[in-house]
């Protein structure tokens, strides 16, 4: 009995319960008494009491039984030497569950004449669309067969209990349909719990981000010391062969951090003046007509996906800068196509709308009276802006710039395509540098053994990135909140 089938049956019971419950309530009303709740609330109450417990039970049962199956299979595996026990066990369990998944697809006759060796079994399963790795062993087959038998038994038991629960719930709910029963309040309480649960997903996501990265990072720090990671100046992860152990590679964060900050700095150097002046012009000078055209145009820049910016940098800006430098220096291209400058400029273009629309809001929020006071004293509009409006808006603008900078630091696709992969420390903006995000992508794309430091380092990098941007965001929000009310 598959879980899906049980689920459908449970929901069907609930739907039937809804209609019967509503019918009963309607009947009660016809008999003259004024009921506490409208008929459809009685229906919903029956539906919820029958479906909710059954589904919660199904979920718990499914995870518990998969845990049980795995434990059971582990106890059947032959004993290994202590060193490699964890890694090889998880691999073997993966193989066994793969074989079990394949066996479940076989027809009855095929199951009766099951081949006893893995070498014969593999082509049979691959013809059923289950591709297995080659490392399977013969002893896994009986374990997998038992796995399937247990799984069937467990799912039948679980399914029966779930359907029983649904029926019991429906009967209970129906028995409570009455003139005085407070069905609406009950339903509304459950709705409220549902709403609360939805809003905790945001917290769960954050907790999930932190925990998942923390666990992998701790595993990583067991093989590489945190000191070497945070203060190492050499990035050379050296993709070692699986299990060769000896060659470790060096995981220094410093060159990546330097590249990240440098590229973000160049981007801000480009985006801040352009975005700020654009915002000032639109807030203080532009006629409503110009504003209504220019503002959406600049905001289009914010709607373009970053992969498009990356491609633009790769095929247009990078080669253009290289050729330009070659023309200037008489043939020798001192700007590389993939460089800090290329990535910085293109990222700066991406950031213009963030700077301009955030600062536009802040500048227009400065009260009219301040401007009028300054203008009345005889200063020109630009003097008013420089001496009165900008100082008043400064905290907000600083907050906006911090938010923008954190976006620059976390940006991925532009630097993946335009900044290069060479991890080095240089102050020459015409050379390639690399960033934290580029290395996360590099370490995690392709087929890799998951438990090697080479892949786990990506989580340590991600955690560092998360905390850097988090600190900037919190600081920015703090500044914005603290100074916002001053002029209101």
């Amino acid at each position: 009995m598959s879980t899906l089938l049980v689920f459908v049956i449970v929901v069907a019971i609930g739907i039937v319960g809804y209609f019967i419950g509503r019918q009963r309530a309607v009947h009660n009303e016809k008999s003259g008494a004024k009921a506490h709740s409208l008929p459809h609330y009685h229906g919903w109450w029956v539906f919820l009491v029958s479906v909710l417990p059954a589904i919660i039970f199904l979920g718990i049962w499914a995870s518990a039984s998969s845990l049980y199956l795995e434990r059971n299979a582990i106890s059947k595996l032959p004993v290994h030497n202590a060193e490699s026990v964890i890694a090889s066990q998880s691999l073997e369990i993966g193989m066994v569950s793969g074989i079990a998944r394949g066996l479940a697809r076989l027809s009855e006759e095929e199951k009766a004449s099951l081949p006893q060796t893995f070498a014969e079994l593999r082509p049979l399963l691959s013809s059923k669309g289950v591709a297995l790795a080659t490392e399977g062993q013969d002893f896994m087959i009986p374990i997998a067969v038992e796995w399937n038998r247990n799984a069937t038994r467990l799912s039948v038991i679980g399914g029966t209990i779930a359907i029983g629960l649904a029926l019991a719930g429906a009967i209970f709910g129906l028995s409570r349909v009455g003139v005085r029963s407070r069905a609406r309040n009950n339903v509304e309480r459950i709705v409220l719990w549902g709403l609360l649960a939805a809003s905790t997903i945001a917290i769960l996501t954050t907790v999930g981000i932190i925990l998942s990265m923390l666990f992998q990072t701790i595993t990583f720090f067991q093989s590489v010391s945190p000191l070497n990671f945070f203060f190492g100046t050499v990035w050379d992860p050296r993709f070692a062969d699986a299990g060769s152990g000896g060659s470790q590679g060096q995981f220094g964060l410093i060159p990546l951090l330097a590249g990240t900050l440098y590229i973000a700095f160049v981007a801000m150097l480009f985006a801040v003046p352009v975005g700020l002046f654009a915002a000032i012009y639109m807030a203080e000078y532009a006629s409503p007509k110009v504003r209504s055209v220019v503002k959406p145009l600049l905001e289009v820049l914010a709607g373009i996906p970053t992969i498009v910016y990356g491609f633009f940098a790769l095929v247009t800006v990078g080669p253009f800068l290289r050729d330009l430098s070659a023309a200037l220096a008489g043939g020798y291209a001192f700007i590389q196509a993939q460089s800090v400058l290329t990535a910085g400029i293109v990222m700066g273009v991406m950031l213009i709308p963030f700077v301009s629309s955030l600062s536009d809001d802040i500048i227009t929020a400065v009260p009219r009276s301040l401007r009028d006071g300054s203008l009345g004293l005889g200063s020109t509009p630009s003097e008013t802006i420089k001496r009165v409006v900008l100082p008043a808006a400064l905290p907000g603008i600083v907050g906006a710039l911090l938010l923008t900078a954190s976006r620059a630091i976390g940006e991925t696709m532009i630097v993946v395509l335009a900044a290069g992969v060479a991890a080095r420390i240089t102050i020459n903006p015409f050379e390639a540098m690399t960033t934290i995000t580029v290395k996360i992508v590099n370490q995690l794309t392709g087929d890799l053994e998951f438990n090697s430091p080479q892949t786990l380092v990506a989580f340590a990098l991600g955690l560092s990135l998360f905390f850097i941007t988090l600190a900037m965001n919190i600081f920015a929000l703090y500044i914005v909140r603290k100074y916002r009310e001053q002029y209101e």
Binding site: A198, I209, S212
Partner: protein
């Protein structure tokens, strides 16, 4: 506005006054204004440059050069031992490119014994002809023995040459298309047998190492699945969360934490969500790599804050009088929210959702980490099958070196931008049409 009231009396007054640096100050004023105009011009210039670069590189991708061949489905070539009645796999493994080569040789008058010429000539059509003819024959075996006029794709280099993207003035040994091939191309063009036709393959083919037979088919299906998952999950969850925070939650520690959390999540780098997806969905829950289900879940978590923020703004915009009126005539709080506030906030919620979806559609980085960078040739059937996404396909093509792939990449970007434009314009129209000022 303000500057006109200021300028007029100051300049028009008595000329003989003491010099207080007005000239200098007005020059500074003009300069300052000029900086603003220059800044806006820079922004718009880059927007134009970006769009120009993409469109000029990419518009040709929607046409593909094809050559019309009178292909003789010769049983001697397809099935030399005449076994197809007993062994159908003969039809799958037959040497179909030979058919196309023979047809082309006949058309161009190349002798079949002239081996170098034959080899050069067979580069005129794509290797994808093997699959194309195989499908034709497999679908209709009675074709064998007949002669059919069929449009087949040309090779990527010939396609580029035909579109004028290869510089013919370069000396022959340094370009990918030889003079002889160019001659044949001109000859076929003159006969009308080689021409550009609408490139439907761009929207249907999957991944391929040959530019001319690679397309966005798999990516479009993958992106569609992901968008459906994002819509189906993030809209109800986001609306439920916003209703709770906006209508029910009392000011408490928990709601404060939730609120700060949502604001922070909105600013977390997208790649971090990819790490989350890899660690939680793939390693912990053992969901398949490269599946659009995982991609959809990751993008859901990523768009949730956007949708929550938009929905809360929309709910806040519904005036309190509506709530009071509903409560006053005896509605319960839940009835008040679901029957009165939510319908009035719906346009705003929808607009925010569409903008969130547009963001999710263009997002690449988290998808790279959950293994969507995969060579997927067959269209996914369920969301659990391996798939790619539109922006990921762009990323993969951007890493290919060939000129023809630059064209394809730009074409794919145009497709992506069109989708985004349609979504954003829909959102704007919705807002214009249904926006209510209270």
């Amino acid at each position: 506005m303000t500057d006109t009231t200021l300028n007029a009396p100051a300049v028009a007054a008595r000329p003989a006054r003491r010099d207080i640096g007005l000239k200098r100050r007005y020059a500074a004023e003009r300069r300052f204004k000029m900086y603003g105009i220059i800044a806006i011009a820079i922004g718009i210039f880059f927007l134009a440059a970006l769009l120009y670069s993409v469109i000029s590189n990419g518009y040709t991708a929607f046409w593909q050069t094809e050559v019309n061949l009178a292909i003789n489905f010769d049983p001697e070539v397809i099935d030399p031992d005449n076994k197809r009645a007993t062994d159908p796999s003969v039809l799958l493994t037959a040497n179909y490119p030979v058919l196309a080569r023979n047809a082309l040789a006949e058309k161009l008058g190349v002798s079949k014994t002239d081996r170098p010429a034959m080899r050069e000539m067979s580069k005129l059509f794509s290797d994808g002809v093997r699959g194309q003819l195989r499908e034709l024959v497999a679908a209709n075996p009675s074709l064998i023995g007949t002669t059919q006029n069929i449009w087949v794709l040309t090779g990527a280099d010939i396609d580029s040459a035909f579109k004028g993207q290869i510089d013919i003035s370069v000396e022959e040994s340094r370009r990918k298309v030889s003079d002889r091939q160019l001659g044949w191309m001109e000859q076929l063009k003159g006969e009308g047998a080689m021409t550009q036709r609408f490139n439907s393959g761009l929207f249907t083919y999957g991944a391929s190492s040959r530019p001319e037979t690679s397309g966005l088919g798999v990516a479009l299906v993958g992106s569609l699945y992901m968008m459906l998952i994002v819509l189906g999950l993030s809209l109800p969850i986001g609306v439920a969360a916003s209703i709770y925070l906006e209508e029910y939650a009392k000011k408490s520690r928990l709601t404060d934490i939730i609120e700060v959390n949502i604001n922070n999540l909105a600013a977390v780098p997208s790649i971090v969500f990819g790490l989350l997806g890899l660690a939680v969905f793939i390693n912990f829950f053992n969901l398949p790599r490269s599946a659009s289900l995982v991609g959809g879940l990751v993008l859901t978590l990523m768009t949730l804050p956007t949708i929550i923020i938009a929905t809360r703004a929309a709910l806040r915009a519904v005036p309190p009088s509506i709530r009071s009126a509903a409560l006053g005539v005896g509605a319960s709080k839940t009835q008040m929210v679901f029957h009165h506030v939510l319908p009035l906030a719906a346009p705003g919620i929808l607009t925010g959702t569409i903008i969130g979806l547009a963001h999710a559609l263009g997002e690449t980085a988290p998808l790279l980490l959950i293994g969507m960078v995969a060579f997927v040739a067959n269209s996914p059937v369920t969301p659990l099958d391996p798939a790619t996404a539109l922006p990921v396909q762009i990323y993969m093509w951007a890493n290919e070196a060939e000129r023809a792939f630059v064209e394809r990449t730009s074409g794919a970007i145009i497709v992506l931008l069109l989708f985004l434009a349609v979504m954003n314009i829909t959102a704007i129209i919705l807002r214009r049409r249904f926006e209510r000022r209270w």
